[in-house]
Amino acid sequence: MRAIVDQWPVLLREGVAGYLKGFLSPTLVEVLVTAAVIALLLTFSAVTVMILVWLERKIIGRIQDRYGPNRAGRYGSLQLIADTIKLLSKEDIVPAAGDRWVFYLAPIVVVLPALLIYAVIPFGRGMILTDLNVGILYVLAISSLTTVGILMAGWASNNKYSLLGAMRAAAQIVSYEIPMVLSIIGVVLIAGSLSTVAIVDAQERVPFVVLQPLGFLLFFVAAIAEANRTPFDLVEAESEIVAGYHTEYSGMRFALFFLAEYMNTFAIAALGATLFLGGWQWGILPPYVWFFLKSYALVFVLLWIRGTLPRLRVDQLMGLAWKVMIPLALANVFATAAGISLWQRLFGA
């Protein structure tokens, strides 16, 4: 009974695959089943964005002593659908002198990495699209691609302010990648593998947040900067004075940028839960429930921060990354390596 509740997605997949293998070739079955899982993941990310946007508007509303949307559907649940319909019906404006194809492609290049990260996040034992043995490296590499999309958007808008905003955003993302990578190295050293599944398994007895508190803090802060959330949301605030990189975008193209932002938000919360909070472990509750609880706890902290803190100035932001976080992250790596080496000497392997 217990096994069924915990593992029903895996059982379902195996069951369907087994049944289909009866009359189809095995490779075709694999392809079909994987395609189904991918479709599921895409749906899941879309639904997650809906939930996240709803959560954000309600939670930030409550932080601000007001209700948040509560007219469209019960508790404002259909608000995002209403907003999407509105966005879809807007006129599609493309800057006349801009670079057309780059303009069209930029939102897609920004959304794709956000979607691709979900491929290596374990929702439970065996519930992962693909257990790459370089899972974390894949995640970090993919998230760098967002920068390209942003630069494309800034360039194609044919607007010097957009370009300035895009370059600033690119500088921010690139700068904060380094502390993010360094903070994860500590986790990788302890787990002994880059695979997300192996990292979750390595937290069987104790979550890495206990062993790597500094790493967790650095990862969390760097991840907020990667996702362009407050207090690092210069990119959006840019619109106050200098037009941000997505100003020339209207309707659904604009929606794609914000889709990307919320997918990124959930992705970094899920990553944080996987790398530091133990992923889908431990007992009592089904694994996927744990996973969602932990991810949404981190999402809540992200929203809480958004509703409370002001924005950093550009040079303060860069100063924080290069002068504070990178030295701390390096120190963390050295300390972790030294700690592991000491542990091995004292207690064997």
Binding site: Y161, I241, P310, R313, V314
Partner: protein, 376 residues
């Protein structure tokens, strides 16, 4: 107009970009246009363009009777409406040599100080919003501002453009129960101000964005004619309520908050402390308010004695003064308005040049200008 020279140390010629802030500004200060010349991230020139809200108030005042003109003055510093009325009626009464009943004086001071608190709440909220806090402090301060505005609505029927004062007193007496409600609100306010301070005053990011930013030297401030919390944040203890006392202020016990550095943070702190002092003033005035008339009954189209006088009050933005010249007709011959926001704006360029773009927004916010006053 001199502009900072191109940086000589850069080899490649840096482009100077001209950026236009406003007049439709997502930040809060009304229809204000600031033309910034940027070299990379740094502001090298800041040119303020005003006049988008000019309505010819001073000229219109020459057409309306003295009592009618009170309504024009509401629209000057519309965030603290009562204090504009105060300055105008004070000037007219000074020209005429009128003495108004004591109860009216108390009602004026209470309404004026409550208006000041409300205005500073707008400042705290919008300043925090300028820094990027996504409106959370704004929602909190506006919650208390609503409480104050509800009380003022009970008093005179309006929430923004009060027209409560009249030449000779005020328009109406406080309704029954109003004084007790006011006292109850004043009891609650200090705790709420603590709440705003808890969120902002020791916040690392707020400190990083405002400490040392946009420093105004006291000498510069005085030579530009800056008044109000901006001046006091630079260390100059000039407050019209103490320097040129009027109404019942000499009998009230309150402090003039000042600061030492004159950066954005000091301008914020001075206003927060002024809110607390205003609460003190209102509490004292509510205690001591005597019974009596709320105004002198003046005939319709009252002709003010010929003469000229200047009277000023400490408005939430600085020294708001009116110079009224009367020639015995039913309308003033001339009504000149010394608008503190307009004069304070003169120092904006000094303060902004050399800082980054994001700082320009913070500095403008910390000056706390209202376009109604700047443009008249």
């Amino acid at each position: 107009m001199e502009v900072a020279p191109e940086s000589p140390t850069l080899e490649s010629k840096t482009d100077r970009v001209t950026v236009n802030l406003g007049p439709q500004h997502p930040s809060t200060h009304g229809v204000f246009r600031l033309v910034l010349t940027l070299e990379g991230e740094t502001v090298v020139d800041a040119d303020a363009v005003v006049g988008y809200l000019h309505r010819g108030t001073e000229k219109l005042a020459e057409e309306g009777t003295y009592q009618q003109n009170v309504a024009y003055t509401d629209r000057l510093d519309y965030l603290s409406g009562m204090l504009n009325n105060f300055a105008y009626t004070l000037a007219v009464e000074k020209v005429d040599g009128m003495q108004i009943p004591e109860r009216a004086e108390y009602l004026r001071v209470i309404a004026g100080e409550m208006s000041r608190i409300a205005s500073h709440m707008v400042f705290v909220g919008t300043f925090a919003a300028d820094l990027g806090t996504y409106f959370t402090p704004l929602m909190y301060t506006f919650r208390e501002r609503e409480a104050i505005l509800d009380l003022l609505e009970m008093l005179c029927g309006a929430r923004l453009t009060f027209s409560y004062y009249r030449v000779g007193g005020v328009a109406a007496d406080a309704p029954p129960g109003w004084v007790d409600r006011c006292k109850a609100l004043m009891e609650r306010l200090p705790a709420k101000i603590d709440e705003y301070e808890a969120l902002l005053t020791e916040n690392e990011i707020v400190l990083a964005r405002t400490k040392g930013v946009g420093i105004l030297e006291p000498g510069t401030a005085v030579s530009y004619g800056v008044t109000g919390p901006t001046l006091r944040a630079s260390g100059v203890r000039y407050d019209v309520r103490r320097a040129k006392p009027y109404s019942i202020y000499p009998t009230l016990d309150f402090e003039i908050p000042t600061a030492t550095t004159g950066d954005c943070f000091d301008r914020y702190m001075v206003r927060v402390r002024e809110m607390r002092q205003s609460v003190r003033i209102v509490q004292q005035a509510l205690e001591r308010m005597p019974k009596g008339d709320f105004a002198i009954a003046l005939p319709r189209n009252y002709r003010v004695r010929p003469g000229a006088a200047y009277a000023s009050v400490e408005s939430s933005r600085g020294e708001l003064g009116f110079y009224i010249v009367s020639d015995g007709r039913i309308a003033p011959y001339r009504c000149f308005i010394r608008a503190p926001s307009f004069i304070n704006l003169g120092v904006l360029r000094q303060m902004t040049v050399g800082w980054k773009v994001a700082d320009a927004v913070a500095i403008l916010g910390s000056l706390d200008i209202v376009m109604g006053e700047v443009d008249r």
